[in-house]
């Protein structure tokens, strides 16, 4: 019987670890020991709490106190004040950004109020390196139930009935995918977990593997039982060292407990998992490319059919699912398909994890029921736009997705609604943009990414993305023509129709989803050589306001090319021909006398 009166959970996700959270754990333990209460308070590191904006996070239970931006040296005051005397440390509490009132209980934080954590149920709750904590949270019960009480057909039926769709981006019904793999008879089949998370700004798969690795191990074993496979492979990016480490530990512990290996729970079912490392190529998130990469071939996609369910890894029937998809499986089997399908919208069931990034107050990882609106996600949970600026657009679906604007804010988020609006769910990255973001530059950023990541196998993608990014480069430098804008549109349509795999087919989406909505912005770059958002440095001009300039000479001294002239105590002038638009004078002027437009 544990004598612990309190638990102190310290976030051990990659974000908080890089802000020194491991040292916080060490210090807390040290001070607890010094004060003789190390047997009364348990300190442990958990997975990601999601509130990365204010990391490192320390949460104290049972009172749900939520400390933010904790430094290792704060451990002493937490122990002495809170853990010994029961007084909360006011200065470390989270403060509501708009009202500045301190919130001492995470239940009252807007960030958590509207969330529903299914895939992230154990992240920030258990110690990911401790299989016993996972078992205490009903871990491996779903596997046990499947093996002893259900036939493979019943498992597949349950997953089908739940309405779960692939969380990696495609949104294909998971149960149906399992059924295809089940129906293809073979002496050997494989279950593959796709942990090749590649969208810029998305980190939900990493967080699940870091925070709750056993849920993936369990789900893969369930899938193996359902489709008739006894071998599982996790394809994970080598750039996720912490996730790899925790997953390895989880696999070893599961073997030790007899939850992986031969004759699991004495049911005669064998299953084991091997880890395969990816080198971080975006295209390897595509399932055929992923399989080729695992076989030691080049990471290039091949046409489907044949689908992996028919001929995948080494030509055998293979079922590939994404990490977040797998994380939902044990809950579905335990709580039932009806429970799961009661959450969400008509065609998109359950919840979805999103990684909020960009110009938003609460950068972090959130999970909401499908059908939650963008407005709720961005303004309620996300806390609105940084610095009180105006919302301009939100990019969803990563490089394959598109931009949604003000008019789409009240759209309930689900697979089909996002596609109808010209974007897509993708793996769940959400990058929020404000009035200072230039849309042609955003499109250029994504096109440069896909140009880099194109595997080069098919012409539309290899050459098409190159030409698109060249055109966008020209436009953002003010050298574009109206013909270029037309070319941008037709080329995008052509690539979309002719590229071999999902990467190429969706690569033009950042252009297509911005060029109509923000047509005026594109035209301003071309016709007026002007960037309305003031972001394209090549198009900016700096001016000195006569009425504000006091002639302090600070700007002329800082200018690297001697473009500013003027006598002491008289108005200075910028020579536009010499100016290289570096912005040094703008930064230096203390009197707001320099403007850019």
């Amino acid at each position: 019987m544990s004598r612990y009166k309190m638990h102190v959970l310290v976030c051990g996700g990659t974000g908080c670890v890089s802000s020194n959270s491991i040292q916080i754990v060490e210090n807390l333990k040290k001070y607890l020991k010094e004060n003789g209460i190390e047997d009364e308070v348990q300190v442990l590191k958990t997975g990601c709490f999601g509130f990365c904006e204010k990391g490192p996070i320390v949460k104290i239970l049972p009172d749900n106190t939520f400390y933010v931006q904790v430094k290792p040296e704060d451990a002493e005051i937490i122990v002495k004040e809170h853990l010994i005397k029961g007084r909360k440390v006011e200065r470390l509490l989270y403060k509501e950004p708009n009202t500045q009132t301190a919130i001492d209980d995470s239940k009252h934080m807007d960030f958590y109020k509207k969330q529903m954590r299914v895939a992230l149920r154990n992240c920030g709750f258990i110690d990911p390196d401790n299989i016993e904590e996972y078992i205490a949270r009903d871990g491996y019960q779903a596997l046990g139930k499947a093996l002893t009480e259900m036939t493979p057909e019943q498992v597949i039926e349950e997953v089908k009935k739940s309405g779960l769709r692939g969380r990696g981006g495609g949104g294909f019904p998971t149960g149906l995918k399992w059924e295809f793999a089940y129906k293809n008879k073979s002496d050997q089949k494989y279950v593959v977990c796709n942990a090749d998370e590649g969208d810029p700004g998305a980190f939900m798969d990493r967080s699940i593997l870091e925070g709750d690795p056993h849920s993936i191990v369990e789900a893969m074993a369930i899938c193996g039982y359902a489709i008739g496979a006894n071998k599982g492979l996790v394809y994970i990016r080598a750039e996720y060292p912490l996730a790899v480490k925790r997953l390895k530990k989880a696999i070893e512990d599961a073997r030790e407990y007899g939850l992986l290996g031969k004759n699991i729970l004495d049911t005669g079912f064998d299953f084991d998992i091997e880890i395969k490392y990816g080198a971080g190529a975006f295209v390897c998130g595509e399932e055929t490319a992923l399989i080729h990469s695992m076989e030691g071939e080049r990471g290039e996609p091949t046409t489907k059919p044949p689908f992996p369910a028919e001929s995948g890894y080494w030509g055998k029937p293979t079922n590939v699912n994404n990490v977040e998809t797998f994380a939902n499986i044990p809950v579905i089997l335990l709580k039932g398909a009806d429970w799961f399908s009661s959450i969400g919208t008509e065609k998109s069931k359950g919840t979805k994890v999103f990684a909020l990034a960009g110009k938003i107050n609460n950068v972090g990882l959130i999970e909401v029921p499908m059908g939650t609106t963008l407005r709720e996600v961005i303004f309620d949970i996300g806390g609105g736009i940084k610095g009180g600026k105006k919302f301009k657009a939100v990019q969803t679906g990563g490089p394959s997705g598109g931009c949604l604007t003000e008019k789409d804010l009240d759209t309930p988020i689900d697979f089909d609604n996002l596609v109808a609006k010209g974007s897509m769910m993708g793996s769940g990255g959400m990058i929020v943009m404000d009035e200072d973001d230039c849309m042609p530059s955003v499109a250029k950023f994504y096109l440069e990414f896909t140009e880099d990541e194109s595997c080069g196998k098919c012409t539309p993608c290899r050459i098409g993305t190159k030409r698109l990014s060249e055109l966008l480069d020209k436009i953002t430098k003010g050298q574009g023509t109206m013909e270029d804008l037309e070319m941008l549109k037709t080329l995008s349509e052509t690539i979309k129709d002719t590229a071999l795999c999902g990467l190429g087919q969706t690569a033009p989406n950042p252009v297509l989803s911005t060029i109509d909505t923000f047509w005026d912005e594109y035209v301003a770059h071309v016709k007026e050589h002007r960037c309305p958002a003031g972001q394209c440095s090549a198009l900016l001009q700096y001016f000195i306001l006569e009425e504000k300039c006091i002639g302090c000479t600070a700007c002329s001294r800082v200018c690297p090319v001697g473009a500013i002239s003027g006598k002491v105590k008289s108005t200075h002038v910028i020579d536009q021909d010499k100016c290289i638009k570096c912005g040094a004078c703008y930064e230096k002027c203390k009197f707001s006398a320099i403007i850019k437009k």
């Binding site: 049972p62 007084r87 258990i126």
Partner: protein
């Protein structure tokens, strides 16, 4: 740790491990919990509040009361009656018990926490908090 041989054994293990996370699970549903707060300032600790808190934790565990959370708080101001314990049943006003010892812990759990019956030794609440 040997290999788990059956679903039964796995279920037994789960029960055994439950206590590892129960403080966290209770914290997650705080609004439904009966909250027992032991005043643990210098005066309280000097009068034996630690033993009282341990006694509460044991009593709650022995009786498998999964709707009771025992936690600590600072000085409540009733230094003449330490150790003091405040019990809050959801939807009811907090009740403060004074001069609590191990025997009184059993009584409080038996009568007030389980059956909602009041007993002797209640200190009238003389203060308001900023939350009120």
């Amino acid at each position: 740790m040997g290999k788990i041989k059956s679903l039964e054994e796995l279920k037994q293990l789960r029960e055994q491990y439950k206590s590892k996370v129960d403080i966290r699970e209770k914290g997650d549903q705080m609004e439904k919990m009966i909250l027992v707060r032991v005043a643990m300032a210098t005066c309280g600790i000097a009068s034996g509040a630690r033993d009282v808190m341990d006694a509460f934790i044991d009593e709650v565990a022995n009786r498998k009361l999964d709707n009771v959370v025992v936690s600590q708080t600072g000085c409540m101001g009733y230094c003449y009656a330490e150790p003091t314990v405040e019990v809050t049943i959801p939807g009811k006003e907090p009740v403060v018990f004074g001069e609590v010892n191990k025997d009184r812990v059993k009584e409080i759990v038996d009568k007030y926490i389980i059956h909602g019956e009041l007993l002797d030794g209640i200190i009238p609440v003389t203060h308001k908090t900023v939350d009120d």
